[in-house]
Amino acid sequence: MAVVEAPPGAAGDDRPDPERPGTGTGAGGGPGGGGWAARGLAWAGLAFVVVVLPLLLPQFHAFRWSEAVILAIAALSLNVLIGHAGQISLGHQGFFGVGAFFAAYTVTVGGQSFWVALVSGALTGAVASLLMGVVALRIKGLYLALVTLAYGRLAQETLFNLPMFGRGAGVEAPRPDILQTNRAFYLFCLLMLGVVLYLDWRFTRSKAGRAVSAARENEQVASSYGIPVARYKLLAFVLSGVFVGLAGTLYAFWNQRVASQDLDFELALFLVIATVVGGVRSRIGVVVFTTLFHLIPDYLSDTFGTSAPFLSLAAGAFLLVAILVYAPGGVGQIIRPITRWMGGGPFARGDDEGFVEEGVRGRP
């Protein structure tokens, strides 16, 4: 069952948060007028930095930020597997790449529009991920990790070098007119991130997400609640595949071409670190950390001239250890007081944030 020792759970869990800013202030606990003004200001500041600032800066900033947003979507995809389903993928660059290549192919060779490619890329990711899900029903733990690792590598060596994908030379992926500029493309990436966040949020608060979560924690209990466990594991893989296929598609059009050497194991490693340090099951933590984890080394290397990937992965390894020791809920846990406050709650820690999820049970 629980495959990754998913860094203990509810610490990074978004569940206890108030549903949404603005809705229901709760019995007696709502902030006063001043509190709302301060929160409004904070939201406005956030919106300014995320939406307006990149449009004011030179175009290449929007280009750079787009990649960060795309990686955040891919990390949210991995969060569905590691966080919600308790599965692992060390070959996520494979699914990312499959989506990217197929989307590019849809436009360049298939002659379809960008919008069709968006759907085809997401669906391709879903199908590839579903196949891995079928494998995951049989193989667990370390062995599954190895299989996914091999899959990612294999995809890079073979799939991405297929004749239809340019035999390793890559495929062009021209943007549609309306998304020509980097600024417009950045806004579109933000919109897609919003959609993915919304879907992930709805998922965790509806039937399917509850079933996946219950199956992660205790398959026996889940099945005695009437949940077909295998089916929901597959569903988690499909949802994860849709997200990462979408991310891959955006990546293809962001770069305006896909080539196999851009999709190596380093990407999978980046995503695993981003998800775990960001905080499994904390979608805000994952997004915040992934974007910063990508952007900070980029901007630092502008100044210091170090190679960005080296910096980011070295720092990542360090952060991973630090997080596992000090804040198992990841960045999501660390910034919880802030997110809770911005959602209308008090600026305080919850009382059950140290919760550690149980391991696998024995016989029923």
Binding site: N218, V221, E358
Partner: protein, 296 residues
């Protein structure tokens, strides 16, 4: 028609015959007890009934349908609710989340609309929550709704687990030692609750239970298992005073101090009968150490 009809079920684990030719029948509205010393096979029988184990021989029929080859989740969805000896709850979730999750098979929308979030889904989610709340109120746990399960005392978890199973809307409620972790007073309250649940919800109950006063008070019929075999069955008083049952439990008492004896008024003659019961007694006693050896 019997709600549950276990027909000559046998199961082996390697060299251990955990159940041999066990038949149990539970009628609608009945509260049936399943007793027997440790390792008798009670939980194993539950596992065969609910689909966690596949019996080597025999059939399980539920509501007139042969479910021997039906997967666990389908049996659960068709109205088999069970609790686990070691508390079966999603411990990382809150109490009410468990009760909402447990309504899985009754949820009226499909997975995709849930993820997209149509207005009908929102409405239905509120109904699921309301229903969970009603069940919690029914078993007096409403004030714990938003508590994380992991932090609750064991006896409380047992009650929460029962509430979660109620949320699956079961035809039969199968409880594996519901009173474990509870004091005598809580156990008495549990008895009240079970009787009330039957009255108010028309439930049928099959329960594994060691606490004799509780069994005698609530059960209409009792089965006693020993070494995987049905020792006897009948009304609770008869089964309790049955010489072989007493002997089986006395052997147990000698080893672990968990016996039928504590039941105050009728215990004296029972103990006496057990002590002086030549035919069944010695044989049972001689088999004891052998079983302990197998288990270890």
């Amino acid at each position: 028609m019997a709600v549950l009809d276990v027909d000559s079920v046998s199961i082996r684990f390697g060299g251990l015959q955990a159940l041999s030719d066990v038949s149990v029948r539970v009628q609608e509205w009945e509260i049936v007890g399943l007793i027997g010393p440790n390792g008798a096979g009670k939980t194993t029988l539950f596992n065969c009934i609910t689909g966690f184990y596949r019996p080597n021989e025999g059939r399980v029929r539920f509501l007139g349908r042969d479910v021997t080859d039906v997967p666990i989740h389908e049996r659960a969805a068709s109205g088999m609710g069970r609790t686990f000896q070691q508390v079966g709850l999603v411990k990382g979730a809150t109490v009410i989340e468990n009760l909402i999750t447990a309504q899985h098979a009754k949820v009226a929308y499909d997975d995709l609309s849930g993820i997209v979030g149509t207005p009908a889904v929102w409405r239905h989610e509120r109904e699921l929550r309301d229903r969970a709340m009603q069940i919690l109120e029914l078993v007096d746990l409403a004030d714990l709704a938003d508590r994380r399960v992991a932090g609750l005392p064991y006896g409380t978890m047992k009650n929460v687990e029962m509430a979660a199973v109620l949320a699956t809307d079961p035809e039969i409620l199968m409880l594996d030692e519901p009173s474990s972790g509870m004091g005598p007073e809580e156990a008495h309250e549990l008895g009240d609750t079970l009787l009330r649940l039957r009255r108010e919800l028309g439930l049928t109950i099959l329960m594994i239970e060691h606490h004799v006063p509780l069994v005698v008070r609530v059960c209409d019929h009792v089965y006693c298992l020993n070494f995987g075999q049905l020792l006897t069955e009948g009304p609770p008083e008869d089964v309790r005073n049955h010489p072989e049952v007493v002997t089986a439990y006395l052997g147990e008492e000698a080893e672990e101090g968990d016996a039928l004896a504590p039941a105050p008024p009728t215990s004296a003659p029972a103990a006496e009968g057990g002590g002086g019961d030549a035919p069944a007694g010695p044989g049972r006693r001689r088999r004891r150490p052998l079983r302990a050896g197998e288990a270890g």
